[in-house]
Homo-oligomer: 375 residues x 2
Amino acid sequence: MKDDQMNDNSFNFELLSQDGDARAGIFHTPHGDIPTPIFAPVGTQATVKSLSQKHLIELDVKLVLANTYHLYLRPGDELIAKLGGLHKFMNWGGPILTDSGGFQVFSLSDIRDVDEDGVNFKSHIDGSSHRFTPESAIEIQERLGADIIMAFDECTQPYDHTYNLQAMHRTHRWAERCLQAKSRKDQALFGIVQGGIFPDLRAQSAAYIASLDFTGNAIGGLSVGETKQEMHAMIEVVNAILPEGKPRYLMGVGTPQDLVECVKRGVDVFDCVLPTRLARHNAAMTESGRMNMMNAQYAQDERPISYSCTCYTCQTHSRAYIRHLIKAGELLSGTLLSIHNIHTLLNLARQMRQAIFEGQFNEFTSFYLSNFNNQ
Amino acid sequence: MKDDQMNDNSFNFELLSQDGDARAGIFHTPHGDIPTPIFAPVGTQATVKSLSQKHLIELDVKLVLANTYHLYLRPGDELIAKLGGLHKFMNWGGPILTDSGGFQVFSLSDIRDVDEDGVNFKSHIDGSSHRFTPESAIEIQERLGADIIMAFDECTQPYDHTYNLQAMHRTHRWAERCLQAKSRKDQALFGIVQGGIFPDLRAQSAAYIASLDFTGNAIGGLSVGETKQEMHAMIEVVNAILPEGKPRYLMGVGTPQDLVECVKRGVDVFDCVLPTRLARHNAAMTESGRMNMMNAQYAQDERPISYSCTCYTCQTHSRAYIRHLIKAGELLSGTLLSIHNIHTLLNLARQMRQAIFEGQFNEFTSFYLSNFNNQ
């Protein structure tokens, strides 16, 4: 489909069922339907670390996140545009979401300088100087060509009310500039609610972002050091205000408990590096907690990571083999654990969706959480 | 099938066709048939580096090599035996070959001490002291449980006639001890011809090893620093003596040219770390030479590594994407290049086999070699 034949109507969100505040729906995109609730694995540099795109298909991944900051720096958004955009560049036919670069500018770059117009920052790769503005962040994301793109926001530490108030207002002004700057009709732009851990700011931000013409809404600035109670409270404040008819995306969150607690509070979409990062640190996410697969107790353990898991790793390999790969420094351990961990979160999302349709969300999640030890 | 129901008759070698000295056959093993000529990728530590066993199946790998030295040290042959043997441990249902540990003892261990009975050496992992004898090398390989196991030999530098003469005689005495020590009937034991780059020693060694009751014969001590001409000359001397009715395995060789030149001289089986090692060093093996995929010339190159290649990598990804993965330090580049490189050697072996059946071996290989630039 050509760009000029498409518009934001391609991005219809159908809310199919609710159980309490938990929601099940479908977000239609030009590259496929995304059933919600959904977890999106992160392909920071146009690759989900240690996995091939075939692995993603076999895992039934429905949405991949890629990072604008990283791809702008390397290989460059202009190169990716020249090669046909991100879908073609990484040969991933399904939906893609790019963040705006805001979070990375504020978290990865040691030296950055915010003004009303934008942010100067230095590359974490070579120290070279760069500048993002709301307009350039949209322009870069239009070159990358993801299905879902994000407004450029100012990410803050969560505990300073004065600074969060200022940053929130700037994020709001930037949100309007992002909407103005958007030119492609085959991409959906999501706004981002900020406001730290302050209910008054979160409510104000949610109302303001909800008033703008975004296709979906995101909650930013959480899972950055606040407590779980604070995170849950902010989500409750925000989701009571955000419109029901648009998808709600909680950025950068993912443990299994987080998915349960936040779907319960009305979140539809999640992304997080956790499953692949834990995999590279030898940890398996399971229904009964996190397992350090390097532990000596697994040296002769012929069982799979989890008997109830249907992923390739659990259907194929023993704990003893995975531990051997880790001890021997073999890359396959990261691949096998990434497959397992992503499957765990995708499967949890699928189970929650089914439970919502069946009106059994609380029963399912209570049982699920009761199995957890330590995760 | 139980061990006591099996014997070396399970390992029938059928020589199906010859074209000049090039041979096409089938080596039957309890875990499947190996069509020859064949290339075996190396899974040093019970994993072919950066690939899953599913990748190996998709590549139609027919034989995997694993290293006795490494597996003895980590996780230990007794642990692997307890977990059901190497096939079950790594969940690879096809044929496996283990080397005897001899090559690693002589090449990886800084401190080693050879006597008539065996070799003392220190672990490259932790410096701990160990000893291999012909008997223990067989015992360890019987615990590992590969289909094809190798006699324990003394590996030398190729240019000292006096030392090679001594080492060859010791290798012969050890070969007889390995045959004596062998107890499992569901494994085939191959002998190893040594003799450096000296035709007289190679002829003497080939005649001696051929006189013993091995199921197959290997040529060791090549591709260790000698010239191609010397390597080819040694193979010609040895293969003129080794029996036609048993498979001939050239250890540790493979470039595409090596496969062509050595199949031409009557070799049936190859193994080498080259395709996976090159992959980790960003190099693609192709029909027209080696490509360094990090080169700037590929930055915007939308073509696959090779248009004529049918591997997953070439069917899925561009040179530009692979170069991006390399520049970004992403592990997927090693996986994609390993898939491509192993496919290149397996496909070359399949093409040579077909050419032998068709009586077109010289035509095929002349054409193949004429395309090469630099490999």
